[in-house]
Amino acid sequence: MKQIRLAIKIVKTLVKDRIQYPGRLIMDLVAILMRCGILLILYWTVFKLNDGMINGSTFLFSAWSIFFYFSFSIMRYREISRVIMQDVQTGNVEVLFSKPISYLSYRMWWQIGSGIYSFFVITIVSTVGLMLLIGLPPTMTIGLFLPTFLLTFLLGSILSLLIYIIVGLLSFWIEDINPIFWMVDKAVMILGGSYLSVSLFPPLMYKIALYSPFGASQFVTHTVFTSWQSNWYQLVGIQLGWILALGLIVFVMFGKAKQNVSVNGG
């Protein structure tokens, strides 16, 4: 109960903060317009040149898939790695460890609170805009879509946080985690279906995306395709499997990391 109250408090405080300073919202909006907007124009041109069909997929499906990737990225789960690194480098972790809260859950809720306001505002506005501009694919209008989308979004969020927490926890042993962060981040970007839509993946790459945690964290990009209706439970199963595995790794790593910190209380 205490944990939930703390989580709500953190999220509420950060949402209020983001409303007060709309700069972050503008930044996120510009980023999504630049990255996703130009990419969609590029895809539109490409599909037009290929008579509207590439690898058995149309522009409509690819556009929504790419949009989901960029929309998901507004949650900024990736930032948790750097926040943990900063805590370790500045010694802030020592202060947080001495407080009666769980450090990792505090940081997770902080991350969720930081991105949730921009995520909702931009996603709602962009979804309406995209709907008016290009329409909805039929796969998004069936009853199965929304519940499975929300489920995979939730699991993807947990998985993303776990992946980036593992990277962040490495800073208890490595001085600068940035090089590892970049590699993991780019693996998520490539296998998640960002610039290259999932429908355009070569077979081997598709398999890697399916069975790696990096691709699994971005399964929201798969939800628009027809295949999702028949294999959604398999994909959700893969996500659950990775959550369990990475959750265990985080648990062990965090236990060992705590032993590396000496709280001086000065």
Partner: protein
């Protein structure tokens, strides 16, 4: 002028020496950034493989594009990473210490910080351009054009960066604004050059100079277009003069916070 230049070189040398003290971190950052940049080539490579040639752009052109952009990014931010900190400096009042310095203000600000990872961009850019020139079987003229264009792209990149980060003096939440504007400039530069046709090409050439640092240089080298080369050179000079004007106008907006931060 020479005095300022030698001061800049001295500051850069000291910055490198300071960063290289943490040897493992220094090397890991360079290597990590090089690998990180490879992701864009993988992505666009698969893209071209899946959808075919668009606007005459092949995989080798994509490699050239990433090479030009990474190299100018790396050169500017390894030598002058301080420009990126302008938003923080103005917000915290740390800009005072630059104003008190007898050196050229812009040079002093730019060389106040150093980005190790940007050296990874430099290494990556050189390798990419090398591969690109081999793949297109570059002639002597194309080699020379590439060398000149590296200089021109650095000027454009530096100008755009100065113009963007000068906005730090105009806005309260400057960090968000400058990051958005920089994103607006850099993101299109990394995209497949064949995507920019008509209005998009006009906007990202004349209003936002994104195509001047990658797409147009690649097209100049691959087609040996002297007309385009002249055009890009003139635009680079105009951007440089304009950005200096913006910077000098912007600093007049700065109000000292009277912070006693005279260090580093």
């Amino acid at each position: 002028m020479m005095k300022e230049f030698s001061f800049a070189l001295y500051a850069i040398k000291k910055n490198i020496q300071s960063s290289a003290e943490l040897r493992t971190s220094f090397l890991l950052n360079i290597l990590g950034m090089s690998i990180n940049n490879t992701a864009f080539i993988i992505l666009w490579g698969f893209f071209v493989k899946s959808v075919g040639v668009i606007g005459g752009w092949t995989v080798s052109d994509i490699i050239g594009l990433q090479g030009f952009v990474a190299l100018c990014f790396g050169i500017v931010f390894s030598a002058g990473a301080g420009i990126r900190k302008l938003a923080d400096d103005t917000a915290s009042g740390a800009f005072d210490r630059f104003m008190l310095s007898p050196k050229n203000l812009l040079v002093r600000v730019a060389t106040s910080s150093f980005s190790v990872s940007a050296l990874g961009d430099v290494a990556f850019g050189i390798v990419c351009l090398g591969i690109y020139l081999v793949l297109i079987h570059a002639s002597i003229i194309q080699l020379m054009l590439t060398a000149f264009l590296i200089l021109i792209t650095v000027i454009v990149f530096l100008s755009a960066t100065i113009a963007v980060y000068s906005m730090s003096f105009y806005f309260t939440d400057a960090d968000s604004v400058t990051r958005s504007l920089f994103e607006l400039f850099l993101t299109p530069a990394l995209f497949h050059g064949g995507a920019f046709q008509g209005t998009m090409r006009f906007i990202f050439t004349f209003i936002i100079p994104s195509l001047l640092i990658g797409t147009l240089p690649v097209e100049i080298v691959s087609h040996v277009s002297w007309q385009k080369f002249l055009f890009v050179s003139v635009l680079a000079m105009i951007w440089f003069v304009v950005s200096l004007g913006i910077f000098h106008h912007a600093i007049k907006k700065y109000e000292s916070s009277n912070f006693m931060t005279f260090g580093s």
